[in-house]
Subunit: 373 residues, 2 copies
C-alpha cells in the first residue's frame, strides 16, 4: 500500500493528497453538529470574544484574515468590532453555511467567505490581523498551525498581528483510574484471543498462534499506548506542571513545530501517590505584538479545571504499571513528539522518565511510546 500510505504523509517534500486529507481530516468539519460543539464551548467562545472586543483597536478599520473560518464566527466578530474587510477562508462546504450566516447578520459588505485551502487561495491584499482557532488536542494534533504559518508568510503585513499571539504545551504527572480499566480491557482482549486461537484450531483446523504477537502489539497500541481524551480534575494532578514548548505565532516556522523535543522536571507535590501517567494540555494568549500590544491580554487555557473545562479536555498518557511516588520525588522527563509517517496530522511521542526519590535515590529510567490519534 506504498502509494496510499505516502499520500497521507504530508510534510515538506511529500505533499498530502487532497482527497486523502479530506477523507481523513477535513470532512468532520463539514458537519454543522461538529461546528456547534465547538461553538458551545463557552470557555473557547468567551476567550475569542473578549480577545476581539476588548482589543477593538486591532480591528477597527483594519483588514482581517480568518484561517479556517468554519461557521464564520470569528470573521463575524471581527466585522462587528469594526474591521473594514474580513477574508474568511474555509476548506470545506461549511463555507456555504458561513456565507449564509454572514448575510443573515448583515455583514456581506465586510466579510468575503472564500472556499479553499490556505495553501491554494489568493487574497487581493495583505492583512493587518490573522485570527484563527487552529488548536487541536494537546495543541498540535491536526497540524492546522501549518496552514496558519502559510497564511502569515503569504498574507500578513510586516506590521500585522496574530490572534492568538502565543501558544504553550504543558505536562503534569497525574493519577487516574483509567489506566487500570485499559489494562483490564487489554487483558480481556488477550484472554479472548487465546480462546479464539484454541477454537479455530479445534473446529477449523487452522493454527493462528503465529498471529498472537502482532495481535497483542495491535491491542497494546490501542488500549495502552494511545493517548486518551479526558477532562481531568485538578485533584488528579499530583505534581508541578511544566512547559514543554513555547510558540511565538508571529515567528514560528513549520520546522520549529514538526518535532517537539524537550527535557523538563516534574516535582511530585502529593504524598504516597500512584503515578498513573501524564496529562498534556495547552494554553494560548492574545498579547498582540511588541510594537502594537493588546490593550487587554486574554488567556485561553485548557488546564485541568473544575468549572472551566473545554471540549479539548487534556490528553492522558498512561504508565503501565503505575509507580508509587512520594512528596518530594522528582521526575526528569525527556519528550519527543513527531508526526506520524502515515498521517502528518497525527503524532507519535517518545517519553523517557527518570525518577529521583526525595531520599536522593535514582530509580531505573523507563521509556514509553505513545500515539496521538
Amino acid at each position: 500500500m506504498g502509494t496510499s500510505a505516502n499520500a497521507a504523509a504530508g510534510g515538506r517534500g511529500n505533499p498530502v493528497d487532497k482527497g486523502v486529507d479530506y477523507a481523513q481530516y477535513f470532512c468532520t468539519y463539514a458537519f454543522l453538529y461538529h461546528q456547534k460543539e465547538m461553538l458551545s464551548d463557552r470557555v473557547r467562545m468567551d476567550a475569542y470574544f473578549n480577545a476581539i472586543f476588548e482589543n477593538k483597536h486591532h480591528f477597527n478599520g483594519k483588514t482581517v484574515l480568518d484561517v479556517g473560518t468554519g461557521s464564520g464566527i470569528l470573521a463575524i466578530w471581527s466585522a462587528q468590532a469594526g474591521a473594514r474587510k474580513v477574508y474568511a477562508v474555509e476548506a470545506t462546504k461549511m463555507s456555504e453555511h458561513a456565507r449564509s450566516l454572514v448575510r443573515a447578520n448583515n455583514l456581506q459588505n465586510i466579510i468575503e467567505v472564500i472556499e479553499g485551502s490556505m495553501e491554494e487561495i489568493t487574497l487581493p491584499e495583505k492583512v493587518d490581523v490573522i485570527i484563527s482557532e487552529w488548536m487541536g488536542y494537546f495543541l498540535l494534533r491536526e497540524s492546522m498551525f501549518d496552514s496558519v504559518i502559510c497564511a502569515r508568510d503569504r498574507w500578513l503585513k510586516p506590521t500585522g498581528v496574530m490572534y492568538p499571539s502565543h501558544a504553550r504545551m504543558w505536562m503534569a504527572p497525574i493519577r487516574t483510574g483509567i489506566g487500570d480499566h485499559k489494562m483490564g480491557d487489554y487483558q480481556s482482549a488477550m484472554d479472548d484471543w487465546h480462546n479464539f486461537v484454541d477454537e479455530t484450531k479445534t473446529y477449523y483446523g487452522v493454527d493462528m498462534s503465529t498471529l498472537t504477537k502482532p495481535f497483542s502489539e495491535e491491542q497494546r497500541k490501542y488500549y495502552l499506548q494511545t493517548s486518551l481524551w479526558s477532562n481531568l480534575h485538578p485533584h488528579q494532578v499530583i505534581g508541578t506542571a511544566a512547559i514543554i514548548k513555547e510558540i511565538d505565532c508571529l515567528t514560528a516556522t513549520v520546522n520549529d513545530i514538526e518535532k517537539v523535543r524537550s527535557k523538563f522536571s516534574l516535582a511530585i507535590t502529593m504524598d504516597n501517590m500512584k503515578l498513573c501517567g501524564f496529562g498534556g494540555w495547552f494554553d494560548v494568549h492574545f498579547r498582540g505584538r511588541g510594537e502594537d500590544p493588546a490593550e487587554q491580554e486574554i488567556e485561553l487555557t485548557t488546564a485541568p479545571s473544575v468549572d472551566c473545562g473545554t471540549h479539548w479536555g487534556q490528553q492522558v498518557f498512561l504508565l503501565h504499571p503505575p509507580t508509587h511516588v512520594s512528596e518530594g520525588d522528582n521526575l526528569t522527563i525527556s519528550f519527543l513528539m513527531s508526526r506520524s509517517k502515515e498521517n502528518h496530522r497525527l503524532m507519535e511521542v517518545e517519553l523517557g522518565c527518570e525518577i529521583q526519590q526525595h531520599s536522593g535515590k535514582l530509580l531505573a529510567p523507563s521509556k514509553h511510546k505513545y500515539y496521538i490519534e
Copy 2:
C-alpha cells in the same frame, strides 16, 4: 471540494483515487481485531468451511483464487481440501499476516499470497475456482463484488466455479423500539439547537437561526434516515419477506448491481401491529455451476434468527411515524438502491410504500430516502 468529492466517487469513467479508497474503506481491514471479529462469526465460518470440505471435488488438484484473502482463511481451507495451487490476493498489509499464517500451517508450497488490488495484480494462470467472502451489510454495501467480477472476468477459466455461486437481497416489514429512540434523539438535538441559537444571540451577538434548516436536515439524515445495524429477533418480523434482488455470481456484471431497482409485495401476517420500518438482509448459496454442481449445496443466510445471528446483522430502515397495520394488509414497495456520488462503497435508497388495507382501502402512498453509510 470538487476534487476530493470526485476522488471517492468511483464507478466506471470516474476511477476511485487509491489513497482515498484506502483512507475510507480498506484501512479497517488492515487490523487483526477486525479480522478476528469476522473469523469469530461461527455461522459465517461454518458455511464456508462446509461449502469447501463437503465439495472437495471442486478443490482437489485444482487452482483457486481467493479474492480479498484477509487473514488467509479461505485460501488455507482450499489448500487443505486438496487444491494444487491457491492465489490469495489482499489489498492491505494484512497480506503479511496471511503469509505468516500460511507458513505456520505449512502451506507455503500451495498458497501464494499477493498484496495488491484485484484490479491491478497479475496471475500466472487462470483458475478453476474463485472463492471470496465479499458480502457487506445488506449484501452490497462496500461494493466489493465489483472486485470479484473483475477477478472472474480476468482469471476464471470458462469451466470455472464461483464460491459462493448465488446471492440474494431480502426485505421484510418489522416492528422495533429503535424508531422511537431515534426520534427522541432527533428531537433532543433540535431542542438543544434552539437553546444554542438563543444563547449565541444573547451572549455573543450572532444570529444563527439561518442555520436551523440545514442543521435539522443534517440531524434528520443522521438520526432518522441512516440505516441501522441490528440483530433482529424473528418476532420483530411482522409480515412476509420478499426477494429484492437475485445475483448469479457467474454472470452478473457491475451494470447489473450498480442500481438495484425492484417492486415487490409484503403481506402483514400479524394483527394490530405498528409497522416501524423494514429489515434488509441477504443470503448466499454455494451450488457450483450447472455443468459442475456442488455435491452438497450450502446456504449462508443472515435472516433474523434467535441462535444463528451473524456479524452482518440486518439493516433497519425506519418509518417515521410508524403506521398501524393489521393482518391481511398488503404493502407494495418500490425500491431503488444506488451508489452514493461521494463514495461508491456507500448507498442511497429511495423507497416508496403503498398500503392496501385488508378491507381493500388504499392509503396514500409515501416516499422515503435512506442512506447506507
